[in-house]
């Protein structure tokens, strides 16, 4: 059953979002869960993408992705009305949502996308939300408005100082942890290295932190084990045991190395695609939909 793209928008140079028909997943999905996408029925690879939002009434889910390789580039080249051959899910365990008190939510780059539904649900559960969004520079920052709407406090950082505060997200995180009204819990989603350092910071303050891991996957249902990570020294499968884990127990160094296991082949496939792909549409900054 193919999935039609009903709306699409370019969020920054390499970050895209789309609303896609997937009624069953929209209905079954909860914050923290993801889908596996493969764009054709020939031999396209299967990649995991987190569900950013769902509209049960319209039967759509919203995905956000960054153009980093062949499959994400192909996805970016699809237009409204085009179809994605395969989307399966929702996969993984949903986030445990409860009223913790004050929660600090740290989103780095594309990681803000999976963080948004979690922060929303935490807000709805009565938590006070302090959000920290970080990006390399202003044009890579996404979802600022959405986070502003649901946050009691929003701190924006950029690595190069082109917008917000010139800092890494760990700096304001440390300050927030230092406050008298200490946060009761932290969530961090972003590049593995960022999550590692966020975990280091919260460890010093003894504040529990949940991280969502974005490992390589094939089936997403526990069958292959390609996504395994070391949690507290024991192997766990991100697809069925996660994707969220206690950030203080994750072996990030190993995870980062495993993420790069295929980097040269991935690079080769992407270069080849860029060279031979004919469909390289430029998208405007606004949403494109069927209605124009």
């Amino acid at each position: 059953m193919p999935h039609k793209i009903v709306a699409k928008k370019q969020l920054s140079q390499d970050i895209f979002t789309a609303e896609i028909e997937a009624p069953l997943i929209a209905q079954a999905g909860s914050p923290g869960q993801f889908v596996i996408v493969s764009i054709n029925n020939q031999y396209a690879e299967r990649i995991p993408l987190t569900i950013t939002d769902a509209d049960v009434r319209k039967g759509t889910i919203r995905l956000i992705w960054q153009r980093v390789g062949k499959t994400t580039a192909e996805l970016s080249d699809l237009q409204v009305g085009d179809e994605i051959a395969n989307i399966s899910g929702p996969l993984g365990r949903p986030t445990r949502i409860e009223n913790f008190g004050t929660v600090v939510c740290v989103g780095g780059g594309i990681g803000s996308a999976p963080l948004l539904p979690i922060a929303k649900a935490l807000k709805d559960a009565g938590n006070k939300i302090i959000s920290i969004l970080g990006a390399r520079s202003k044009n890579l920052l996404i979802l600022e408005d959405e986070f502003r709407r649901i946050s009691d406090e929003l701190i924006v950082t950029t690595d190069d100082g082109s917008y917000g505060r010139k800092a890494l997200v760990t700096e304001p995180l440390k300050e927030v942890c230092h406050r008298k009204a200490r946060p009761d819990r932290a969530f961090a989603i972003g590049p593995a290295l960022m999550m590692k350092f966020c975990a280091e910071v919260t460890r010093q303050f003894d504040i529990p932190i949940q991280v969502s891991l974005n490992t390589i996957m094939v089936d997403g249902t526990g069958m292959c084990g390609g996504c395994r990570v070391e949690i507290d020294g024991k192997p766990k499968f991100v697809c069925v045991d996660g994707p969220e884990f206690d950030g203080h127990k994750v072996n990030f160094d190993l995870m980062i190395k495993r993420l790069n296991a295929y980097s040269s082949q991935e690079q080769q496939a992407y270069e080849h695609y860029k060279k031979f792909s004919r469909r390289r549409h430029g998208d405007g900054p606004g949403w494109t939909t069927d209605n124009g």
């Binding site: 069953l24 089936d219 526990g222 069958m223 292959c224 084990g225 192997p235």
Partner: protein, 517 residues
Amino acid sequence: MRGDNITTEEQRRQLLEELFEKKKAGKLTPAERFKIPPQPMPEQDHNDRRHNVNEVALGYTETVARLEAMRCLQCKNAPCIKGCPVQIRIKDFVAAIADGRYEEALDIIKENSLLPAVCGRVCPQEVQCQQTCTVGVKFKDPTKAVSIGRLERFVADHGLAVAGTATDEGPGTSLAVAPQTGMRVAVIGSGPAGIVAAADTRRAGHDVTIFEAFHKPGGVMVYGIPEFRLPKAIVQKEIDTVAKMGVKIICNFIVGRTRTVDQLMNEDGYDAVYIGVGAGLPTFMGIEGESLIGVYSANEYLTRANLMRAYDFGKGADTPIAHPKKVAVIGGGNVAMDSARMAVRLGAEKVNLVYRRTENEMPARIEEVRHAKEEGVEFRILQSPKRIIGDENCHVVGIECLKYRLGEPDESGRRRPIPIEGSEFTIELDAVIIAIGNVANPLIRQTTPALAFNKRGNIIVDEDCKTSMEGVYAGGDIVLGTATVILAMGQGRIAAAAINEYLARKKETAKQPTDRR
């Protein structure tokens, strides 16, 4: 003409003619049948096949198949049938092949088995029908039994070639479907058990939908068993047959996530559910270094290679796979052989198969072991890894192994492997593939509270494959642990019969109150 020096097709044809004349006259004696040499399976040269993924066994020609079929003594008690998990009328289909009545032979098989082209290739006949074959017993050599599997494959392939699909309209009634009953059946998983359960319940006139988690149907036949042993085109034809019968197949649908069993029954209007979700989670050894880069579960390695066709990476396939030069495969089953032989084809210079018992205890089929050896896989028996060694970049560089000896038999009846203290040694490697089995996937268990499971996580069923939940049946690896295609098919068939009976009863009780009014 005597059988001993037959090498050319012409000689075979002559011999066949002679024998057939005698047979027609009712004069072919058992002694003469014994003299027909066992017909070898033509195979791709082992040097060539190291470099391609094409099927290794090339299949019998008509002459060869008929000669082989003539070897069958047509025993009255037919021990072969007792050895078959689905009781195919073996001696009858073999007799039909001997006479050249291939369509009839296929119809006989189809009475009991829906997937002859698959089972003819992957069934472990040597421990089933061929183990009990009188001819093999007479020669005290099971490899000299009538090659029932090869004959099954021949006749199935012949049918596929003639009709497009093995059960295409042509002969037989395999595609015939009873009038609509108005009852709906959900089949979870499109592996061998699911396909058979779907076909059999569809035949009874029910509205049947198969739900598959992957983006392609076929289960282990497409993600697990490699192309060189079971071409994917054949699996697809078998699936097309089921679709032609009117079975709906929905992919990318994960029961337990997309919808639960309870939702299927209570909200989506399914009257019965068959669970055939397969073996699930790969087992690791629990030793140091198993998360290093270059350590694969056999499931991952084979799924990348087979389902995602990673051997064509950059030539139409997008999924990468490692191309290690020195590989160790841990395990001694068919999956271990498949992994080792796939590694050979992906360019490994040295493939070690590390197994902690001896070749006698290996669960793999004899033929797979032979093929692996011919292709240069080095068997390291009575050894097992103690830890996996990595470099500073977390890449595998070797395994430290212990040597083993065999002790007393354990609960599996096989002699228990005992490590020899102080026997550590190291093998240099750049990849390790772990093929030591699977445990049940917990997804259905976690989301179906009313379903009873055993300690190992397998669904508990009765002799009709009925579970603890009314209207829910299960079979295949999720019930049996790790089994074979044919055993899974057998359970699919039993469950389908029970579902058909259950639904007939349900329809009857649904009618009764109205009748009485």
